[in-house]
Symmetry: C2
Subunit: 480 residues, 2 copies
């Protein structure tokens, strides 16, 4: 890189385009060679080819691992693997950490066990733990053997915590100092290192048993008189610390609320065992919100956009299957009223409106309640109050929009009675949607399930079947 | 606070419960007094009341502003305002910054202009800019007058950038040094301060014209020999910097990719004008993902869960109105085939399945494409490839699930022809959903609109009307 070069936020796009261009030029040569029936090995030997490859390799060497990961994700499989082969082996580990799960799988599949082992050995214990689920068991076994005692303990610890816990996010890059030394001693101690762990904004003050006694921020280290004792300038009170079993969501909210950069993770006896950094938290927040958005559409995981058709079908089929069942149930509800529809075919045209608006309104309620539960603002005791409010909103919407549709139906089918049934059905279905929209997430929470999952499918199933039943039922009672 | 007290991630829940308890006790006394017909002013004078209020006040004084904000959001309006009155006036500003928009409005409504002005004057220019849209114009005018020249310039700058730009997120807490001094001089300079700005992980090296020459991380300041010159240890190359007009999304991705804590914002001539910190980025990421999740359900903004029924109706009505229109259109499509339904009433029961599954499948495609566009991985040129893949997925799903439903229909209605029509309609509607699911977000992007917005409504509208039309049309052609 030239000195003074600057990175701008959208530079990764330029990098991607450059790599794509190099690949395209490479492909052009290959096509040409192909048309001339030159054997493959001659191509690989050819000067032009070598030049392109060298150019590409040096481009890749100059890039940040996260940028290489980005480029790999944006390339179709064949080109992705071509580029992956050109990446220096010692960078494989850090890049594998950065790519999405789907792309990671596609890369690991092509690597020999020795390559994987070499890549894994460049990583810290906490990073290894993240990668481990995707590695073949024999590779993990080998890597585990190659670790020292402390590394093995750390890897075992990191792998033992559930996915959404602080323990799974923490790292072990701890800078610790004793409380009975002066800041000058700490400063001299630090100068012995070539670098500090990423996101070091504070040092942890521990005693001989590694128990956390306080926190020495770099700020107080820099601003105080070097002659001061660590014990006198460290922070002993209101230390924010986590335990490995703490919920990652709560930790993320604490980072957000208190604007933290790093925080200690302590075990039994206040023993310092790890550290949580804002980088881990940012990744976690992003992944969680991606997962939530994907789950709304019934996608189980982020799809590699160049995934095979078959992988995509697998990622999506379970949701479609569930919806098929609920749609089939709704269809049978209609089936039960076929006699009524035969007599008054207008019902067939009007019934999807009742069901559809109910589903939309119910989804609004569910989304609201789920978010309020997620940020911890809804106690079960507030359920009644929320229910009352949602029912009032539904009543207003039902009378306004249902009334409007009633008038439209009256005008279309010249039947005032049909209009009244339409309005009544809309209102009742919106009330059903409001009640279920509050009750479903609240009940799921009380039962210990994640209130965010499945609420949308359940409410839509209920308002579809319920809407058809209410509308066709009322019509059968009052119109026929 | 007692020394050695620690904050745990879910402490804010305990705080909330404590405050609620104090409020409940307070209410008990009030009720008692009320039943004895004691006049209100005597209550306020009463010892018990004073004691409760003092307890609550001291509890609030001990809390972090973000925690007070959290508690205010979790309390119903009356209790919220009671608590708000007890908060020390000089903390009003920072708390107003922390609460959600809806709650901020409810608090500002009750404050006198002088109170608002006093609160605003405790804030920095970038914080003021965040609050300004919610303040009455005369308050902003007054605050603006009270600022010094630099403050006015900063406020003007911060307010001039669009909401989703780096300029709107940056702050002005810059620590700058010159390149021709030694680290020892920098260290002595820093010791003159009582504190560093939050999230200071680096100092900015500038020349006399405030042009950014390099970056001196606290790490290199600490690890290098104090006799070294700043110019020799500062980082000159691969500095990541932003411009105020840069897209906040790109900046957030850069922070995530390169694990940044802070980064300089530079104007024309590389002049340093501000700073972006990971705290701002985390808040931005959270807000964006909230907005995306809310918009899926057609909620315009986060609703204060204790908002009035009327506010909720306003927040939700526009989405229901749009859906009403699309549902009405779909209903008219059915209306056009009333003759066919009258002859074969089974069509009425089966048609919602075709429409519903199409909508679900289309939403999966839209979600996938929108996410791929958001992370910048889809060039317009990839459209054809993606389309091909989505169509293949749709074809498989259509034949499998459509086939299954065809068999079910055949079995239910003893008509093989009906089963074939069902399968064909499902497949065609899924193909329509796949095509539109790729095309809608891509076209919106090409037209410069946000591909994430409205895709779900459009696809559902299309697959509903389209599904009814295809199924009833095929049935009319081949069955009647």
């Amino acid at each position: 890189m030239t000195p003074e070069e600057e990175l701008h936020p959208d530079d990764v796009q330029h990098h991607l385009r450059e790599v794509q261009e190099l690949l395209a030029r490479q492909k052009l040569v290959e096509d040409l060679v192909h048309r001339q029936d030159m054997p493959r090995h001659e191509l690989v030997e050819s000067l032009v080819h070598k030049q392109h490859v060298a150019e590409l390799r040096s481009k890749l060497d100059s890039l940040h691992p996260a940028d290489i990961a980005y480029i790999l994700e944006a390339l179709p499989l064949e080109e992705r693997l071509f580029v992956w082969d050109l990446v220096k082996a010692e960078r494989d580990g850090e890049i594998l950490l950065e790519v999405s799960d789907a792309v990671r799988e596609s890369l690991i599949e092509t690597m020999a066990p020795e390559e994987l082992k070499a890549a894994a050995e460049t990583l810290d214990a906490d990073e290894l733990a993240d990668l481990a689920p995707d590695l073949p068991p024999e590779v993990i076994q080998d890597v585990f053997q190659s670790l020292d005692h402390e590394g093995r303990e750390q890897l075992r610890a990191a792998m033992s915590y559930p996915e959404d816990s602080v323990g799974a996010l923490m790292d072990f890059d701890l800078m610790t100092v004793r409380e009975d030394v002066t800041l000058e001693v700490v400063l001299r101690y630090l100068r012995r290192f070539d670098e500090l762990p990423d996101h070091t904004d504070k040092l942890f003050v521990v005693d001989r048993e590694d128990r956390l006694k306080g926190i020495l921020s770099l700020e107080s280290l820099l601003l105080n008189d070097p002659e001061s004792l660590v014990a006198d300038v460290m922070r002993k009170e209101v230390m924010i610390s986590f335990e490995p079993a703490d919920d990652a969501d709560d930790a993320a909210q604490a980072f957000e609320r208190y604007d933290l950069v790093s925080a200690p993770v302590i075990g039994p006896d206040k023993r310092l065992i790890g550290r949580l950094t804002v980088a881990d938290v940012v990744d976690y927040i992003r992944e969680e919100s991606e997962a939530e958005i994907l789950s709304h559409a019934g996608l189980r995981e982020e799809e590699d956009i160049f995934a095979s058709v078959w992988d995509s079908v697998k990622n999506r089929w379970s949701w479609l299957a569930v919806n098929l069942v609920t749609a089939f149930v709704a269809s049978r509800v209609i089936g039960a009223f076929e006699g009524s529809i035969e007599k008054l075919v207008a019902l067939a045209a009007l019934m999807p409106i009742v069901a559809g608006i109910g589903g939309n309104s119910g989804n609004q309620t569910v989304t609201m309640i789920v978010r309020a539960i997620a940020i911890g603002q809804v106690e079960q005791s507030a359920m009644q109050r929320l229910l009352k409010k949602e029912i009032s909103v539904a009543l207003i919407n039902g009378l306004v929009w249902g009334g409007l549709l009633g008038i439209l139906s009256w005008w279309l089918y010249h039947s005032a009675a049909l209009g009244v049934v339409m309005t009544a059905a809309m209102t009742l279905n919106l009330l059903l949607a409001a009640t279920a929209g509050v009750a479903i997430p609240m009940l799921r929470q009380r039962l210990g399930a994640d209130p965010a999952i499945g609420g949308s499918v359940m409410i839509t199933a209920l308002t579809d079947s319920g809407g058809f039943f209410i509308f066709l039922g009322l019509a059968t009672l009052f119109l026929l």
